[in-house]
Subunit: 116 residues, 2 copies
Amino acid sequence: MNEVKHISFFEVASKVLKALGHPERLRIVEYLQAGERNVGDIQREIGLSQPITSQHLRYMQRHNILTSRREGTRLYYFLASDLIRKLLDCMHSCKVSLDSGDMQVGDIFPEIKRSI
Amino acid sequence: MNEVKHISFFEVASKVLKALGHPERLRIVEYLQAGERNVGDIQREIGLSQPITSQHLRYMQRHNILTSRREGTRLYYFLASDLIRKLLDCMHSCKVSLDSGDMQVGDIFPEIKRSI
DNA sequence: GACATATATAGCAAAAACGCTATATTGGTG
DNA sequence: CACCAATATAGCGTTTTTGCTATATATGTC
């Protein structure tokens, strides 16, 4: 017994990337960078319906992006690992580069002329 | 006319993350960090069939992860943007943390006991 | 043009992701 | 226990992804 799962870094990392590869989920984890938030907070902040919000959160928990902690009737979700935090830092520094004009959106999506 | 597409950073970033969210594709882009390579090189290095290799490469080109350059009968693919390079650097530093033992795979995937 | 090599595409079936509505569960309070 | 607020799940139709086999296209050489 005592089965040991063998999984490469690429497997782990690609699962994480895939789970983050959704605009609303990315918004959610960015929001959670500031600290844990309960479902209602997240729902209001991101502007999604209750079921969709819950589904994204569950999905991310299943994919090891988030963990949760119950407090009475509320569920608080928070970032689950340092890999996630590192990735978000990286995304953030890219965002800053974009905003400051050091990098153009066209560098990433050539067909797009302008963006927010 | 002169339509201007409006797209947020989250949209751009999540598309990139999603496109990178596949183990073989992640292997491919990591391989391409060293510089451009043609389809045959990539196929042999990663160990995929020719059609699958081509499909992944096309997919990533469509999603602005890669660009290509033809040289005779060969097609050379290479990383398309600084965002990709930054992300890969980030992944790499996480990989190093994992390898050096500073970070445990269990920090990312709690149910996994051990990994390569 | 015939042929070889390198790469791309078509077509298909299985699986997964997505968004939605309706309904269920869980915990707290009286 | 009844009831409310917070959150999760079921079920469903649509779309996207994935991997595969077979076939097509493009380029170079003779």
